[in-house]
């Protein structure tokens, strides 16, 4: 491996350096666009006491739900959880801590972390319990809440295509949180469906430039559908 080639040869190598107690950011919305093989590798590896930030926490037996099985997650930062029974049980038993964060704040907190912005003001949540204990400020005639950036020790991302330099394109709504997660990780690991040579992707079509990406691996994906809904 040389220069800008971000490829690693195994999932073990992709997640090397992830340690107990670290903060992990994970892309995906529901089960759409989740880095399913990287999550499976974390389960295999057995890393514990993780703080995981992701919009949701998967379902029983798939996605981030896998990391609940061996109690690898200590704290979950998400906008919507509880699609899985195991999550509910660990929460009620006090084995799992949850920080519920408005979805737009979660995305912007990650973007801010990647963009070098330590905090930002937003009207979201003003006057609600989400704003309790946080600084507020009046701009014009509206109140705003100071929300802090959310950086990660590791970020795991699911892309569609990438070149070997780690320039990534996402497919359809599988983009969701992935580009923001990619920006916010100290170590950003991306798994994709196809890796091509530099120059094969249109530079203007790149969603995540390789500068944000540290490691890249090509995988195969189950892409489980959470709510299959078809026209009658």
């Amino acid at each position: 491996m040389a220069g800008f080639d971000k490829r690693v040869s195994s999932y073990e190598e992709a997640m090397a350096g992830l340690e107990d107690g670290m903060t992990l950011l994970a892309g995906g919305f529901g089960l759409c666009g989740i880095p399913e093989n990287l999550i499976a590798e974390i389960k295999r590896k057995g890393t514990r006491d993780l703080t995981v930030a992701s919009n949701n926490c998967g379902v029983d037996g798939f996605g981030l739900g896998l990391l609940l099985e061996d109690c690898q997650i200590r704290k979950m930062i998400a906008s919507y959880v509880g699609e899985n029974a195991l999550f509910e049980k660990q929460l009620l038993d006090g084995d799992l801590e949850v920080e519920l964060t408005p979805q737009g704040n979660l995305a912007e907190r990650m973007r801010a972390a990647g963009a070098g912005i330590p905090a930002f003001y937003t009207a979201t949540g003003y006057g609600t319990r989400i704003a309790e204990g946080k600084e507020t400020r009046l701009f014009g005639d509206r109140h705003y809440v100071l929300e802090e950036a959310l950086p990660g020790d590791f970020a795991i991302v699911k892309g569609w295509k990438a070149d070997t330099y780690g320039n990534v394109i996402y497919r359809h709504t599988a983009r969701n949180f992935n580009p923001l997660v990619a920006m916010a990780g100290k170590v950003t690991v991306v798994e994709v469906e196809e890796i091509v040579a530099p120059g094969e992707l249109d530079p203007a079509a790149i969603h995540t430039p390789g500068i944000y990406v540290d490691r890249l691996i090509c995988g195969t994906f189950e892409k489980r559908i959470e709510k299959r809904t078809v026209r009658g």
């Binding site: 509880g82 949540g125 006057g127 709510k227």
Partner: protein
């Protein structure tokens, strides 16, 4: 007669205007898409990053990479665009969405809305609701006028944890269309066959009743 869910959706749809970008929440709001008046175009925004949401797919069109904010498989309409979650909420927070329709547990005379948690019950999260109510200028809340046990949901002050403060101006229930003005509910329309007395009885917060309250127009 109280409005059915479909009739509520139909009444909300009458508020759509040509060229509106609209975010529809889960439940009754989703049904509004079925009643877009003839001759106008609206584009649906789904906060997971899809602007220009189309109908549900056929079996052949199902694509795990194409879902809506309710995690259902969907399609994109011609002219759609897809963005990441930060850009999607920039549209919402930045006030670019023309109309947001969402459900609630309670609304009060100050325009406060509670829709995301009931203490003592398992809390699943607010998803994008707090961002939506804070960002949109134009919001319609849809909910039943009273709970199943008959408790009012239009209150002097919300009892449940808030989703947003002072952000709601319009509420459509199965009994009435109500606007919030100067710290009061104002009864604008009633469902066909529903008496003003019934609406007064089932409203918890201060309700102003004009001399004439027309019946709303909905199809059977």
């Amino acid at each position: 007669m109280a409005l059915t869910r479909e009739q509520m959706a139909q009444r909300v749809a009458a508020e759509l205007e040509d060229g509106f970008y609209v975010n529809l929440g889960i439940g009754i709001p989703t049904l509004v898409a079925n009643y877009v008046p003839a001759g106008i175009e609206v584009m649906l925004q789904s906060e997971n990053g899809l602007l220009g949401m189309g109908p549900f797919p056929t079996e052949e069109q199902v694509d795990p990479d194409m879902i809506n904010a309710g995690k259902q498989t969907v399609t994109a309409q011609p002219g759609a665009s897809i963005v990441d979650s930060a850009d999607s909420f920039a549209m919402i927070r930045g006030g670019h969405v023309d109309l947001t329709v969402l459900g609630a547990f309670e609304v009060d005379v100050q325009g406060n809305i509670a829709s995301w948690m009931v203490p003592g019950k398992l809390v699943k999260g607010m998803g994008g609701a707090m961002d939506l109510v804070a960002g949109a200028e134009n919001i319609i809340v849809t909910m039943t006028h009273a709970s199943k046990s008959g408790e009012p949901k239009l209150l002097q002050a919300c009892t449940l944890p808030l989703t947003g403060a002072g952000c709601i101006k319009r509420v459509l229930t199965d009994l009435a269309y109500i606007e919030i003005e100067n710290g009061q509910f104002v009864l604008k329309e009633r469902a066909p066959g529903v008496s003003v007395e019934e609406i007064i009885r089932k409203t918890g917060g201060e309700l102003v009743v004009p001399d004439s309250v027309p019946e709303m127009t909905v199809a059977g």
